[in-house]
C-alpha cells in the first residue's frame, strides 16, 4: 500500500469542520472555557458568548456539548431553527421527549415543560443567534426568565449584534464572554498542536516563528482564515510533490512564497 503523503494528511487537518475532537486547547481559551463552564453551573438565566467570525465560538460550543465533565444536560443547535413552531417542537422532542404534531406556540410549549419533571435545568446551546428575529429572541428571554431552560447563545460581534446584546439581554445576561483572535504565539501553538494531534510532526516543525508571523500578518490570528490558508498551503505543497518539483524546494520550514501563494489563492491577499 502506498504511503499517504504527509502534505495530504496535514492538509486534511485544516479542513474547517466544527468537531470537538479537533479542539485545540490554548491557555487563554482554556481559561475562557473554564469560566464558561462555571457560568453554566451558576443559576444564570442566559450566557452570551460573542466574538468576530472565526474566533472559535462554534468550536467552544461543540466542546462544551461533548464534555463529559459537565454535570448538566446540554442540547446543541449549530444551525438556527428559524421557524418558531419548529423550534419549540424540536426542544420538546429533544429535551422532554414529547412528540407534537401541528403548530406549537410558546404557551403550549410551557405546558409541556410544566408536565415534565426535570431534575436539573437543561442547557440549550444556540449558535449563530444573530439570525433569530428580535421577537423570537424576546420569547427565548421569556423561556429563560421562567427558569425552565437555560440558554447559552453565541453572537457574531458586529454593530447590530452589539445592539442586540445591549438592548435585549443587558438585564438578563449575567455573564458574557468575548472570544478574540489568537496572538502570534498562540497561533503557533494552535497550528503545531493541531498537526501533532494527527501525528504530523514533520510538518508541525516546519512552522518557525518567521513563517507563523507571516501567517499572523495575513490572517490577523483568525482561526477560520488560518485553517483556510493552511489547507491551501498544504495543497500547494502537495501539487509540487505530485509534479516532482519538491526536491528543488526547501522543506525544513514553510516557505514565505508558498504562504503568500496560498493567501492569494484564498483571497486573503489581493494580487
Amino acid at each position: 500500500m502506498m504511503n499517504e503523503s504527509i502534505f495530504l494528511k496535514s492538509k486534511n487537518v485544516f479542513l474547517d469542520l466544527v468537531n470537538a475532537k479537533d479542539y485545540v486547547q490554548l491557555n487563554r481559551v482554556a481559561t475562557l472555557y473554564q469560566s464558561l463552564k462555571e457560568s453554566l453551573e451558576k443559576p444564570l438565566k442566559m450566557v452570551l458568548l460573542y466574538g468576530k467570525p472565526g474566533t472559535g465560538k462554534s468550536m467552544l460550543l461543540n466542546k462544551l456539548h461533548t464534555d463529559s465533565t459537565l454535570s448538566m444536560k446540554t442540547f446543541l443547535y449549530l444551525t438556527p431553527i428559524l421557524d418558531e413552531s419548529e423550534f419549540y417542537k424540536t426542544l420538546a422532542q429533544d429535551i422532554f421527549k414529547t412528540q407534537y404534531t401541528g403548530e406549537l406556540n410558546l404557551t403550549q410549549f410551557m405546558k409541556i415543560v410544566e408536565k415534565s419533571k426535570q431534575s436539573s435545568i437543561p442547557v440549550v446551546l444556540l449558535d449563530e443567534a444573530q439570525l433569530y428575529s428580535e421577537d423570537f429572541m424576546e420569547k427565548i428571554r421569556l423561556l429563560s426568565d421562567a427558569r425552565v431552560v437555560k440558554f447559552l447563545i453565541t453572537l457574531h460581534k458586529t454593530e447590530r449584534e452589539d445592539l442586540i446584546a445591549k438592548e435585549h439581554f443587558k438585564t438578563r445576561i449575567w455573564e458574557s464572554i468575548e472570544l478574540k483572535n489568537a496572538s502570534a504565539s498562540e497561533l503557533k501553538i494552535y497550528i503545531q498542536k493541531k498537526l501533532m494531534k494527527l501525528n504530523c510532526f514533520n510538518t508541525a516543525t516546519m512552522f518557525t516563528s518567521k513563517s507563523v508571523n507571516k501567517i499572523f500578518k495575513i490572517t490577523n490570528g483568525n482561526y477560520r482564515d488560518t485553517n483556510k490558508l493552511l489547507y491551501t498551503l498544504f495543497d500547494i505543497y502537495l501539487a509540487y510533490e505530485n509534479s516532482n518539483q519538491l526536491r528543488k524546494m526547501k522543506t525544513d520550514q514553510v516557505s514565505i512564497k508558498i504562504i503568500e501563494m496560498a493567501a492569494i489563492h484564498t483571497g486573503l491577499l489581493n494580487a
Partner: protein
Amino acid sequence: MLNIIELENRWLRYKIKSYFPYFIITIVLIITTSLLFSSSKNQTLEKKLPPKKEPVQKIIKPEKNIQIKHKSMMLSPSLDFINKELNSTHSAMKQKMLDLYQKRAYEDVCQIGFDYFKKNKRDEEFVSLYAFSCLNADYIDRLAAATAVLKFSKKARANSAYFSLILMQKKLLYHALVDNYSLSSFKLPSTDYVLSRVFELYSKLEEHNTHTFYLFEDPLNPKIRYKLYLSLKSKRKKMIIEEFYDTSSIKRHIYW
C-alpha cells in the same frame, strides 16, 4: 488540483506590485539625496573658491599701435599647383583631388591625400594640394607631415614655412588657453589664415587670468570679429574659433 504555474504567476505579479511603491520611493530618495548632495557641494565649493571670473563680454579692440604686421612679416603660400594646368602625366587620382578642391570639398581631398601620402610624398604638387585641403578643413595636425617633405623647390619651402607657422600657432594658442601659457613675449610672422590672425590678437594681450571666452575685432575690418574659447563638452578640450560678420556667425573652426 491547483494550477501551480498560474498561481506562481499571480504571486510574481503580486510581488512586483508590492515592491513597486518601495522602488519608486527609493528612486525618489536617491534623486533627492543626490540633488541635495550636489547643491551642498556646490555651496561648499562656492565658499572655498574665489569668485568666478566674469566671462569677457567686452570686445577686445586692437590697440592703436597694433597693426597688421608689415608685409615682410607675412608668410604667403604658393598656390601654383592650382593655377597651372596639370600636365598629362598626372594621375587620375590627382585630377580627382584637384576637381574636389575646386569644388571646396577640402575634407575629402585631405582624406584622399592622407590615404595616398606615402606613395606621393615626393610629388610636391600633390603634397601642397593635400596640405592646403587639410588646412581649409581645419585638420592642422596633418600639416606636420607635409612640412617635412616640402623642401625641394623654393615655392615648396615657402609653403612648408607657412604650414609649420600655422601648426606652431595652433599648438601655442591651445597651450595658452588650456594651461594659461603666456604668449605675450612671442613675435612671430603671421599669415592670412584665421588661426594666425587670432593668434596675433591674442598674443598682444597682456598677461591675464584665463577668460571663459575672448572676442577680438579684426583691425582691418571692424565688422569682422573672432570669438575664441575652449569647448569642455568632450573629454578632450577643443579650441573653437568662431568668425562673425556683423554679429552673424560665418564659420566655426574646431581644433584639438
